[in-house]
Subunit: 354 residues, 2 copies
């Protein structure tokens, strides 16, 4: 599980009843349920141009459009029935930003800071020291001691209480440097791609190292992806009768780490079919991409390349957060599609909400 | 986890490309994807009569039809948006038969018998002794020693190899007394109910103590429920590169027991919304039913009562397999709907396949 170290318990943020919803993505959200497995519209260059306005003409867009046309062309050898059109997307760094630190980590740090007065024993914990110094680079390498703090700070409450805590944080917290709510820091071209895939009969899933609790409250509104299509890491919960009512209570133990080799396992457990399209951005997505690319039928593996220092952040290959090293090598060797944020995307974020 | 003892690793069988598909259930299967979250048709007594021909007019049917009418009536206080119309069904004893033993157990016994020559050390295992004597009653109480045999007999292979083993068994094995393929031993009234719910905007899930591997190969064809909507128990799998290809390999360890208190946990992890309708038949479904019945909004909890010794099997309250004791008491106290197989269903099984 060596590759697990970078994304566990990471990311996602925000806001719930948000209203990012640029016209196209609204269509996508509303269309999600209705179009998920509907008789697919056949993809054509024409509707792709209309559906993917934030994608520049180029190799990456051409490969996506060709792939969708191939799998939706009835009677062709590359046709894939709608039920098997499973598309999986990593979240942090693939659907929204992840710098200076996975947004879920920022939430967890706030939780730990708030709980600290009751835990003097944390003073010797190196992760707690890094939190006090806001040393995000160090934190990215201190996963285990950090998880010990997290497990304590976020346990004992019911899943409903935890859900409220997350929704409240997302609704009231801004990105430290970009000064926008986290759920506005999703990638507009990816919102368009999700909607385009669904309009072509795909069922879209998130497969994240972050926890299900942190993504589900806003994934349906923002991405058009319902809670049951969000696969992520999870903490152990226990069924109890509390005050006469059934309750699911969070226990201080990690249950499943849906990262690195955990991603194909999570896909197997919760989807039960091999995806035909997988989109990631880092080494935490390596095995999910390998697993998808190993299919005997049509498939497409894609990577977001973070090379836009002006509009987002330029990092990946050497970064502690969002490292893209082994997966980059494999993308080059195996011909996976690499999407340059700088060159392939005309826009990064949707317009701010009113 | 005391209630876990009866259904873990149990049930479901069969056959894959089956063709039970009576006209109505075909419509259900085809409609599954398309109608899952579509703008719902409003339920009316008229379409219910047409959609549920194997349900006798009576209290149980009336409650179902009223509930569906209530949650689909736009503008009413009982309206539930389509995305929240989650319906969960136990499998063994709720959607298909489970006597003389959960069908998955019958499969596992065959696996153990086949592997036995390589395992002389099993001779002292009480579950192995019960298998030799076909003592199903004893086996139902020997879960732990049985699981030790199962873990060994079914590990080491890839999930794809295991899938083939199951499909082959289901395609070639008949029920010991009814002499029909297991996937023909599904309940016709429930096929109609699943299709009726989907036609009214519900998303239907299986939530079973049986394993995902044993249900997924045929649930889509027979029930109209795709693999990603099958929640069940699971064995640990590991990601490996085997002969140069990514593979998921089964490890000799149980990963998750989706039974008893495990059912609401499985629902939380994989659906992330509280169901508004839950259908079970035994104490293994107690917590799932409690959890559903505790919702503040509209909800319906139902139990199949196995009281038809002529057309199926009369058991439940005192049975080792499919015991309905605590959940029966709670159904009486809390007014859950109890469905009598003898009185409420005009038909039990679909017509045999050609």
């Amino acid at each position: 599980m060596q590759l697990c170290s970078r994304r566990n318990w990471s990311r996602r943020a925000l806001g719930l009843v948000g209203a990012i919803v640029v016209a196209l993505s609204v269509a996508g959200c509303v269309g999600q349920s209705a179009s998920d497995a509907k008789s697919p519209a056949v993809a054509s260059a024409t509707n792709a141009a209309a559906a993917l306005p934030s994608w520049r003409e180029g190799t990456a867009k051409k490969r996506i459009v060709k792939f969708v046309a191939d799998v939706t062309r009835e009677g062709s050898s590359t046709f894939v029935p709608p039920a098997e059109r499973i598309a999986v997307f990593d979240n942090d760094g693939t659907l929204w930003s992840e710098q200076p630190l996975y947004f879920q980590f920022l939430f967890l740090l706030d939780q730990i800071t708030a709980a600290a007065p009751n835990h003097p024993e944390w003073k010797g914990n190196p992760a707690y020291q890094a939190i006090l110094k806001k040393d995000y680079g160090a934190l990215a390498s201190l996963q285990k001691p950090l998880m010990r703090l997290v497990a304590v700070a976020n346990s004992g409450m019911t899943v409903d209480q935890y859900d409220k805590t997350i929704r409240n944080w997302l609704a009231t917290t801004q990105h430290p440097t970009l000064k926008r709510p986290f759920t506005e820091l999703v990638y507009q071209p990816q919102l368009e791609l999700l909607a385009y895939l669904r309009a072509n009969g795909f069922k879209t899933f998130i497969v994240s190292g972050g926890t299900i609790e942190f993504i589900r409250p806003w994934a349906e509104t923002i991405y058009g992806i319902p809670p049951e299509q969000v696969i992520g890491s999870s903490q152990l919960v226990q069924y109890e009768i509390r005050d006469g009512h059934p309750a699911l209570v969070r226990r201080p133990k990690i249950d499943f780490v849906n990262d690195g080799p955990g991603k194909p396992i999570g896909i197997y457990r919760e989807i039960g079919r091999r995806p035909i399209l997988a989109f990631g951005n880092s080494d935490g997505d390596l095995q999910m991409l390998q697993y998808t690319a190993a299919a005997s039928g049509p498939h497409l593996a894609l990577l977001v390349h973070h090379d836009d220092a002006v509009r987002e952040f330029a990092y990946d290959r050497r970064s502690k957060v969002g490292k893209l090293d082994k997966a980059w090598d494999e993308a080059v060797t195996d011909g996976w599609a690499v999407v340059s944020m700088k060159d392939d995307w005309t826009t990064i974020y949707p317009l701010p909400r009113r």
